[in-house]
């Protein structure tokens, strides 16, 4: 176990180093003179040189690289050009909102998967089952930003049932639409995985035993088959956490949800390179760490899994 954790954490270090290197290369490809940008358009040559010196831009590239690594390891992601505060502060301020949204999405996703998947398996081949298959394909093809926009238009604007995006009190009213937009399509997808697992398990011997001792069909499904069938779904959902975080960038932008995804979007609109890069870096490393958590979760819920 300890050996496994050390191995995986070393893997994260390698990934983080790679991510940092790539972002450093991207930053150094920024066209134009960064010092001129920071000093302002009317600065004198001497001021520009001073700014260049204070930013360390007059040093050789490889020294800049190691300084960049060192700064990032200390948690310093640089100064935002548009927000007048360090990138780190901006991210920490927006992180709770992203976590709230992500948590709501995961809960809704699993609810959709559980209900639709179980029903589709119990009534295999029925109309409900076939519609479910279609919805799963639609779910992966539907552009999230468009679905969100349509939901906003119909539910929030036409019917005035919920607020038109943003963040406020009472939270559930603001949370519902963005969470549904992100959760329902992937929920349908997971429901198909659950259905396939259930159908396979329903042929197992222990299910026949349960049936033959006279247990009602729905009890057999709910009590005996479901707990085993749900494990792979949770595993896959856990492995998809990174994609979920990435997908939230779009959802947050559509609903003006003040999370880190929206922060990155605003960064692009304001040509704030440090802010965009900082957010990307932060999310990439978070995803690498989340993958370990997903592995551990797999081991906790499924005792057959041996990590190593």
């Amino acid at each position: 176990m300890l050996a496994y954790l050390t191995h995986r954490l070393l893997g994260v270090v390698v990934v983080a180093l790679g991510v940092l290197t790539i972002t450093f290369v991207l930053v150094s490809m920024v066209p134009g003179d960064v010092a001129v940008f920071y000093a302002g358009p009317h600065a004198s040559g001497q001021l520009i040189n001073e700014v260049r010196h204070s930013l360390g831009l007059d040093k050789p590239k490889y020294i800049q690289y190691f300084e960049y690594l060192w700064q990032t390891v200390q948690g310093n992601l640089g100064q935002s050009a548009s927000l007048d505060e360090p990138v780190r502060t901006a991210i920490w301020q927006r992180l709770p909102q992203t976590l709230q949204l992500a948590a709501a999405v995961i809960v809704l996703e699993l609810l959709v998967a559980l209900s639709c998947g179980t029903l589709a398996a119990m009534y295999e081949g029925s109309l409900f089952d076939r519609v479910g298959a279609g919805l799963a394909a639609l779910g992966v093809s539907l552009p999230g930003f468009w679905l969100g926009t349509v939901l906003l238009f119909v539910v929030a604007y036409k019917l005035s049932l919920l607020p038109l995006g943003g963040y406020g009190d009472p939270l559930p009213e603001y949370l519902l639409l963005p969470a549904l937009t992100a959760a329902v399509p992937s929920g349908f997808w997971y429901s198909r995985i659950l259905r396939a697992n259930l159908l396979e398990i329903l042929h197992a011997d222990y299910i026949r035993t349960a049936r033959s001792k006279g247990l009602a069909r729905h009890w057999v499904v709910l009590r005996h088959a479901l707990p085993n069938a749900i494990i792979p779904v949770i595993t896959i959902a856990a492995m998809d956490l990174g994609q979920l975080l990435g997908g939230l960038v779009v959802i947050e932008t559509v609903f003006s949800w003040p999370g880190i995804g929206f922060l990155a979007y605003e960064g692009v609109q304001n040509l704030d390179v440090p802010l965009v890069i900082g957010t990307t870096l932060f999310t990439a490393i978070a995803i690498a760490l989340l993958n370990i958590v997903a592995d551990l979760l797999r081991m906790v819920i499924d005792p057959r899994v041996r990590l190593g």
Binding site: F145, V250, V268, D272, T280
Partner: protein, 295 residues
């Protein structure tokens, strides 16, 4: 790797060639979707002929007197957008952008995935370590965020969009190819080829890569759909294809400002996008099924 699948792929090589298309065409849904894709490709190629107006020209009679977009009429079949441009023409030219980005980004990611996957699977050693690590690193980047970063650093263009999509998608192909090559190279025909002195690159090219055909085909179909979706998403976030080029994603984001007056501006490109991506997804699924089925 799933050995059963591999066996199937190898054993059925001969009868698959005749059967795959027939099996695909027997699936009604896939057939309809194939038709939709054909229509989409035609629209994209013939856009300059089919479009009733130039896509980027803002007509002065294309706006109401107080400067709002027009609904559909005889001159502008699907109405005009916020700057008086013809929506139908922009939809047709948008199909062009979608198809170009979808196909080129997929070609690029498949090539990268095949090359890196085959090298790491066949040679092992350092190449394997470096490439698997690179896959891990790139998988940590969320697509959209890397797209936003690229947009902040470079000037957004069709080329940048293609590169970003390929850079964030090749790892999936590379992983599949890697594991398939890993088991393929243990087969006797590879050993035989090596025994008679065939060079490495030739073994990979002539003896291993042909077995990856089915995987590559179904993967490419799905990949085009995903790439089209990503292009639209990036363009929606102003980080993809720049204005004034017609792109479905950018059309949706531009139409948003007028959603009260003219919700159709958001509706048309959104529906086109969903239908096309869905068609690629379902044909990809159908192909996977047709290639795997060997009853």
């Amino acid at each position: 790797m799933r050995h059963r699948e591999l066996d199937e792929a190898l054993l059925s090589a001969a009868d698959r060639r005749q059967g795959t298309m027939a099996r695909l065409l027997r699936q009604r849904v896939a057939l309809v979707c194939l038709g939709i894709i054909g229509l989409f490709v035609l629209c994209a190629i013939l856009a300059p002929v089919l479009a009733p107006h130039p896509p980027n020209y803002g007509y002065t009679n294309g706006l109401t007197l107080d400067g709002q977009p027009l609904g559909s009429s005889g001159t502008f079949l699907l109405g005009t957008d916020t700057t008086g441009r013809d929506v139908l023409s922009r939809l047709l030219f948008g199909a062009r952008v979608s198809l170009t980005v979808g196909v080129l980004a997929t070609l690029l990611q498949i090539t990268l995935g095949l090359a890196l996957g085959a090298i790491s699977g066949y040679y092992g050693g350092w190449a394997e370590i470096v490439i698997t690590r690179l896959v891990d690193i790139m998988l940590a980047f969320p697509v959209v965020l890397l797209g936003l970063t690229a947009a902040a650093v470079f000037t957004p263009s069709v080329t940048t969009t293609i590169l970003v999509i390929a850079a964030t998608q090749w790892m999936y192909m590379a992983r599949v190819v890697y594991s398939m090559v890993l088991s393929l190279k243990e087969w006797q025909f590879v050993e035989a080829a090596r025994a008679i002195g065939v060079r490495d690159w030739r073994i990979v090219w002539r003896h291993i890569l042909p077995h990856l055909g089915p995987v590559v085909i179904s993967y490419s179909t799905l990949g085009i759909g995903v790439s089209i979706l990503l292009e639209a998403t990036l363009s929606y976030l102003n980080a993809g294809v720049p204005q004034p080029t017609a792109s479905w994603g950018a059309m949706i984001s531009a139409g948003l400002t007028y959603y009260r007056v003219d919700p159709a501006l958001v509706l048309y490109p959104g529906i086109s996008l969903t239908v096309v991506v869905l068609a690629f997804t379902l044909v990809g699924d159908g192909l996977t099924k047709a290639l795997r089925a060997r009853s």
